[in-house]
Amino acid sequence: MMNKKSCDEVYKIQKKEKIKLGIIQASILIILFALWEVLAHFEILDQFLFSRPSAIFKLFKEYLLNNELFPHIFISVYETVLGIVIGTVGGVLIASILWWSEKLAKILDPFFIVLNALPKTALAPIMIIWAGTGISGIVVVAISILLLVTIISTYNHFTNIEEEKVKMMKSFKATKFQIFTKYVLPSNIGNLLNVIKINIGMAWVGVIVGEFLVSQKGIGHLLMYGGQIFRFDMVMMWVIVLALCALIMYGIVNLIEKFVIKGRIKEK
């Protein structure tokens, strides 16, 4: 009886801590925005260049009412998700092939390192000309930014498995394919989810850069357009919308992670 009670207490305390954390984070955000508003009001921050939360909020309401918000958000999110999915799946596939053939991995290693060092955003115009203007070009730019990093980090995870576990499986006469599908891949699910989290940010960079260059709709398009007509309040608003989109996507992956890891407890 005593033990059960104290466990409940511990649980309650943990929950309280979590709520406290959330309150602190929310407060920081509110204070920052309030500070922004005040500094802009007293012209310490140049309102023209940085805008202010009240102006941004007003603009946001306008867009919401005119139903001009979601078509742009939708297309950018669509492009980003496409980039993440194709880039991650392709990257994991390639990393798997490299794991399978050590020879191939050794041959391609220096090429990957060089390719990774290239600034992909600078090469974006070339990629778009090759892949075509429109969504295909934009998605290609997004993939280019996240593909190589995905391959390299996934490959590292695949090769950092425990050799003894492989030995154990070989003692059961396991084939290479079985070792991959039953050990290498399942043991790295957590790592792959982390890779996806990182890819979210990179995909957004690629999509925005791509939309800067070629687009009719989308968040990047509006960021560029706002700059062209000197509506920095518009630019700021879409930056905030962009941040929210990325945050939500991150949160979804976190949920998936909790669901998958549920019951699985990390190796000590």
């Binding site: 778009i128 203007t133 800067f212 062209q228």
Partner: protein
């Protein structure tokens, strides 16, 4: 202990050097931000090449900001002293109600600098050949697209942005840097390009220059020099010296041939062979692209605002007297 002492002395020396180089910023060292590095601004490069700025006692640091919004930001955040860009930027800024707005004091170009390029050579090109076609115009909200639309409408064509069902479809999905590449890879029936891009395409046989948008648009202030109101109030002598130097450059351009201009400014545009540069200079001379004097005419600004209104980008017109100051131009011309 000895090592510590040495380190301390070194730190002092480094700090001293920093202060030295920091203090070195004297008034006559000007940061000039240009919207892009272009042969279109030949008179400025003539002034640089001929040392007209030094004659006036000015030292110019030129930075390429790649976009009018970035030039404007540089001016407003005091990273640049004088900016070279389209005056539409100063209209937008004034309309946003900013107290320390931006004032234009020299007009550099008086024509749209872009050329209509097509895939086939067309003898006796007329604008109604554009019916039912698409043109890659550049980015929405930019003056080149607005001017293109204005010119086509003047010619009686129903030119609309991003609508393939209308008579002429002006596509705004492709940005300036990628225009040529996109066109070559098959996008659009026509494209408007600045120089030397248009001539480059012709050289490679990938396109043909069919018309000059500038020739059709009439006098519009396409590029001008500007600075913030406070900067001008605090440094009228610098603005005057600057204007004098540019005026000298403008005069030189008027008095010399395309070839001579090309040879003079070639060092600033090494990627373009002198022959091509000469062709481009000639094109600009033919359409009278460069202002002979720094004087910024009112009717030009009004026409620019007509164009912006017609494109739906201007809700309020800005007063000429506020955003243009011709006093420096006038004084330069008197001498």
């Amino acid at each position: 202990m000895k090592i510590l002492k040495k380190l301390f002395i070194m730190l002092l020396i480094v700090k001293f050097l920093f202060i030295l180089t920091g203090c070195k910023k004297d008034r006559y060292s000007i940061v000039l931000s240009e919207v892009t590095h272009s042969v279109f601004y030949a008179p400025q490069y003539v002034a640089l090449a001929k040392g007209y700025f030094e004659e006036e006692g000015l030292k110019i640091t030129l930075i390429n900001s790649n976009g009018a919004d970035k030039v404007m930001s540089a001016l407003l955040s005091k990273k640049a002293d004088i900016g070279l860009m389209g005056p539409e930027a100063s209209i937008y800024v004034y309309n946003q109600g900013r107290k320390n707005y931006v004032i234009n004091f020299i007009q550099l170009t008086q024509r749209d600098g872009s050329f209509l390029v097509g895939r086939e050579k067309i003898e006796n090109f007329t604008f109604d050949m554009l019916k039912g076609k698409s043109i890659l115009g550049g980015r929405k909200g930019g003056v080149p697209v607005m001017t293109l639309q204005y010119v086509l409408r003047q010619k009686g064509l129903d030119a609309v942005l991003d609508d393939p069902t209308k008579e002429v479809n002006i596509r705004t999905d492709v940005q300036y840097g990628v225009l040529a590449g996109a066109f070559v890879s098959g996008e659009g029936d026509f494209v408007t390009l600045f120089e030397p891009g248009a001539t480059n395409l012709e050289k490679e046989g990938k396109g043909y220059v069919l018309a000059s948008i500038g020739a059709e648009s009439g006098n519009i202030p396409y590029t001008a020099y500007s600075a913030t109101k406070s900067y001008i109030e605090k440094n009228p002598d610098i603005i005057q010296k600057f204007t004098n130097a540019i005026y000298k450059g403008q005069k030189w351009v008027q008095e010399h041939s395309a070839r001579e201009i090309a040879e003079l400014i070639h060092p600033y545009f090494k990627e373009t062979p002198i022959e091509d540069l000469t062709i481009v200079m000639q094109r600009y001379k033919d359409i009278d692209a460069w202002c002979p004097t720094p004087f910024f005419a009112k009717e030009g600004l009004e026409r620019l605002m007509d164009i912006m209104e017609q494109a739906g980008e201007l809700t309020k017109r800005a007063p000429f007297e506020k955003i243009v100051d011709n006093s420096f131009a006038n004084k330069a011309m008197q001498n």
